[in-house]
Subunit: 349 residues, 4 copies
Amino acid sequence: MAQDTGFDAPTGPEGSSLRIGVIGCGRIGRLHADIIARDVPGLALGGVADVVTAAADGVSAATGAPVMTIDEMLASPDIDAVAICTSTDTHVDYIVAAAAAGKPIFCEKPVSLNLAEVERGVDAVEAAGVPFMIGFNRRFDPGHVSVRDAVAEHTIGDLHLIRITSRDPAPPPVEYVAVSGGIFMDMMIHDFDMARFVAGSDVVEVYAKGAVRVDPRIGEAGDVDTAVVILTHEDGTFTTIDNSREAVYGYDQRLEAFGSEGMAVSDNQSVHYGRTFTKGGAIAEPLPWFFLDRYLPAYRREWEAFRDYLVSGGPSPAGGNDALQVTKIAMAAGQSMREGRAVRLTEIS
Amino acid sequence: MAQDTGFDAPTGPEGSSLRIGVIGCGRIGRLHADIIARDVPGLALGGVADVVTAAADGVSAATGAPVMTIDEMLASPDIDAVAICTSTDTHVDYIVAAAAAGKPIFCEKPVSLNLAEVERGVDAVEAAGVPFMIGFNRRFDPGHVSVRDAVAEHTIGDLHLIRITSRDPAPPPVEYVAVSGGIFMDMMIHDFDMARFVAGSDVVEVYAKGAVRVDPRIGEAGDVDTAVVILTHEDGTFTTIDNSREAVYGYDQRLEAFGSEGMAVSDNQSVHYGRTFTKGGAIAEPLPWFFLDRYLPAYRREWEAFRDYLVSGGPSPAGGNDALQVTKIAMAAGQSMREGRAVRLTEIS
Amino acid sequence: MAQDTGFDAPTGPEGSSLRIGVIGCGRIGRLHADIIARDVPGLALGGVADVVTAAADGVSAATGAPVMTIDEMLASPDIDAVAICTSTDTHVDYIVAAAAAGKPIFCEKPVSLNLAEVERGVDAVEAAGVPFMIGFNRRFDPGHVSVRDAVAEHTIGDLHLIRITSRDPAPPPVEYVAVSGGIFMDMMIHDFDMARFVAGSDVVEVYAKGAVRVDPRIGEAGDVDTAVVILTHEDGTFTTIDNSREAVYGYDQRLEAFGSEGMAVSDNQSVHYGRTFTKGGAIAEPLPWFFLDRYLPAYRREWEAFRDYLVSGGPSPAGGNDALQVTKIAMAAGQSMREGRAVRLTEIS
Amino acid sequence: MAQDTGFDAPTGPEGSSLRIGVIGCGRIGRLHADIIARDVPGLALGGVADVVTAAADGVSAATGAPVMTIDEMLASPDIDAVAICTSTDTHVDYIVAAAAAGKPIFCEKPVSLNLAEVERGVDAVEAAGVPFMIGFNRRFDPGHVSVRDAVAEHTIGDLHLIRITSRDPAPPPVEYVAVSGGIFMDMMIHDFDMARFVAGSDVVEVYAKGAVRVDPRIGEAGDVDTAVVILTHEDGTFTTIDNSREAVYGYDQRLEAFGSEGMAVSDNQSVHYGRTFTKGGAIAEPLPWFFLDRYLPAYRREWEAFRDYLVSGGPSPAGGNDALQVTKIAMAAGQSMREGRAVRLTEIS
């Protein structure tokens, strides 16, 4: 019984796994399908669907799961929950349809680039009372979780400051940038979520600066590639964030919380731990380049968390309000950057 | 064409993967079957076999590969190579049979606890001219490989010293210890292989000390649980090794090469890189506990190396002579410990 | 010959050291006197002066240098340069007097809490053409210098971001806070200097947030104890800074520069490098608590730099314009925090 | 009252510091004189002596302490203890003379290269009942002490293994090597002392291997430059040690203790903690090159320990038996290397 939703915990066939239907078989959909099919006890891949049939066929061949149309999947009694992994602009329509069909929903982030759309999706979920979780994979990274725990368990006392650095190894294609919603909605949204996740306190004000330093074509596409932000939380904590679209030394992902009794840090890991010492110094490996080298364990834990949420209920590991809040923060950041002033979240609607 | 063996490179059906047959479906066999089936482009799992049919059935169910008898597998034109993953005492019989059947062979370490048996297996392989590789997984760990490369590429100049620490998180069952061949044959054999692999020079002398410090029952079983060894290589390099059957802080695996121009180190990795700083100090995670948390990438690379060896030929990544040498070193270590003196490898036969 | 100043390089008695007179024998004056007397080849302690004679007597007893009045020191042909180590509010008067006396000047930071006063001091120095250096000790920390060098030598390409964390182990007495000029002028001024030093580019805009989180009495004294700032440099680089008056785990001093070709980091050092690994994890030492445990080498290098500057001329390692700029940044930060908006340096006068 | 010696604690003039007379004003004597004169509360430099008067004059000029003859020093009521810092072959004669004069003695290591001489010195000290401490500076390194404490306080449970690496940045002059007593007596003696210090258990057996790898002239001088040793302690603990006369990356000093409940490590420290991350990896500083960069704090703590030992009594921080034991271990190591077998300490006399 999912206590907070009043929704009956879905169960698969007697004694067997919960069957997940994956909607959208692009890069992230294939990843999720693969993890569900192979790595998570208690979950099974019940079917795959994509408007491009060939994409679904490929995942089906690799996993053995049947291809379905989306309508078939939502209607099927053999599908216990759906994972929405389509392009962002279609998320909310599928959320609404899945909620209407009474299916528990896992949805990739971001729910939508448009606040009204996020609200429409969240309203549909709440009206239907179905379990709903957003794929904020960093909430399941063991290092980041250890920082959150150090705050939640008061190991570092009262929280004063959070410091987040996220830098991608290389920028996405300019065509993607143009439709991405911008750096705050597309990239820093993960950090906004981390700030709320670690602090356990909502954000009330945002100040943002951005610049085009990596590639002028990103500027021509109307976006920035380098950004710094100060968030002020309801409890008085400050979060500083910096983002860059290109860190040539690898995928740089660091998180730090500082409080009255200490500091908790989630640091980068190296590709491997071989080092060479010569007259010129000590040389170690650069950081991992590929996001999965850092976050694959987090993607697995994400599905364990979804499974446990379906089975045991309780609050969503990353629910509708989380989507609303980070969307507002991203919008406030964009407005702050454009207007050159701090923007309060109450201004966003 | 495998140049060193005169063996024609096996090819799967036109344009497709090499089909591996796994003999022995215990823990390590299942691991290999799983990796072959899912993770290595160019390899496919052609079949699984076990004298205990139920074991093979389980792996078949998980991977979709057909169950065969061992005789069927060796006779099948649909099997391009075999992986021998049975209990150690049966390795050589299967090597001989597979060699007779003309199948390329991957064999788990150790080939045998008995030198004459190792020789019998190696002789059969050489007579048949089939590719042969032993599963010394550490040869494929990226950190350890970086140390070997620093020696081979002369980054650290002339090699003078190697230092190896291997400590298991917990001792095996005493019943296992009794039939394991002892700490030198069962555990330190990996380190003997690393010493030869890193140095690129054979071992000529061994001095060993051992003691029962972890568990008196290990002593009652005729073995030691704590050992230190000095190896002298043909080129004058010294290697020191220490082993313990129980490191409560995790699976401790370190390797260091020191030479005239520097030092190369392969260090442990942490479970994750979260840390907490308080008045009392900085607290980090212990080491991984489970050997796969450390060496899973090495097991994958091992199969890539086997594939490349089959396709491109060249010397085996870990061949028959490697098995002979480490068996002799382990025997010399045992004799040294018992007799309280250095033992030269020329004494072993 | 000090090229930039047109001032003749001072020389001590033939072949001997430059004789420094220390004005002000409090904590920092004693430290400088001790370093000059013992640790810097080419420098000698020529005399010590303090309006409180007993303070000067103590330093004289420890170092063997004669006690002088300030007037005597400025008039003495046996004093080649002076170090002004008095309380901040007296700095400029002594700068003016020393400049009038033609003495090269080392002055502790900050020159003054008042911009007009800083200008008066700098004007006097420029009018007299005497060498002038401010005691921004962090400019001489080897780790921080390595970051500056990585930027200046373009090792990390074009600079995009700087990230600075400075946290004191414990807050100063509240009475001190009340007259300190506030966290931006008293503490973060070091970080403003580092930002300019590392970037090699002036700051044009400041956004600051502050809060009282450590001790409410600091708030009652009109100051904050926790602050975050975003600086925008003339070349487009952003710097984020966070400060806290109390980090219970020690003196936390970190600096990072990020650019198109990489990242340079100056990290904390530990009290020592002993660690313990047990079932519960790996425990290391906390950070040094005392600022000299971190920066004593920097204080020594600072005097070497002053000596070299006197002997060889060239631009000051930390000159009058540096003092003016950081004072303006600190003022802009205070105004930004009070008014809740970004403040441009052109607004400050 | 020095309890263990029956010797009355020396006291300086009422309320003032203990006055140390330094015998021998070479490199190490100057270092000790400087530390005593400046850095240790409760100690004063009472005088300096050297058979080469000019050497004493230099130290006197730098410290202000009077020059004395050695006879004057031993007879002076103004000298409370002596520090013997002369060449090794003269140590015992001065020990005997100082003991006869009733002066507490600090003696640089090694006491003598000759066991009978060590015994003569120790006998004289015991007969006179004067406090006696050997300058084993590593016993006072904070990192090494933390390892000893982890053993002594049972933080890591029962001790099983010790692992020591000591490598010098560059070999000494060949002329020095010829009279040094050899690598075991000159260099590894520090590690033998560390093994006993950390284990708290005597060594009963030694196995040693040595080779000439760094410089053939060291071999021509009758010594080796590369050595590995296994020590067996009375309590069953094994210690492995490796030494090299030349580590081009700096002064490499590491120590590790492993036991039933964990591991304690004393690691190297870096010159500074600046690092650069680029596409090619992360580059850090090499190790310190100069022994004082690593051990200066240990030299200071050594004198604090000598002071406390004089004032409070108790066992010597490094006494006569320690000198005897490490001399025997070094002799056993030499014999083991020459004879190619393990040598028990009971064989040495």
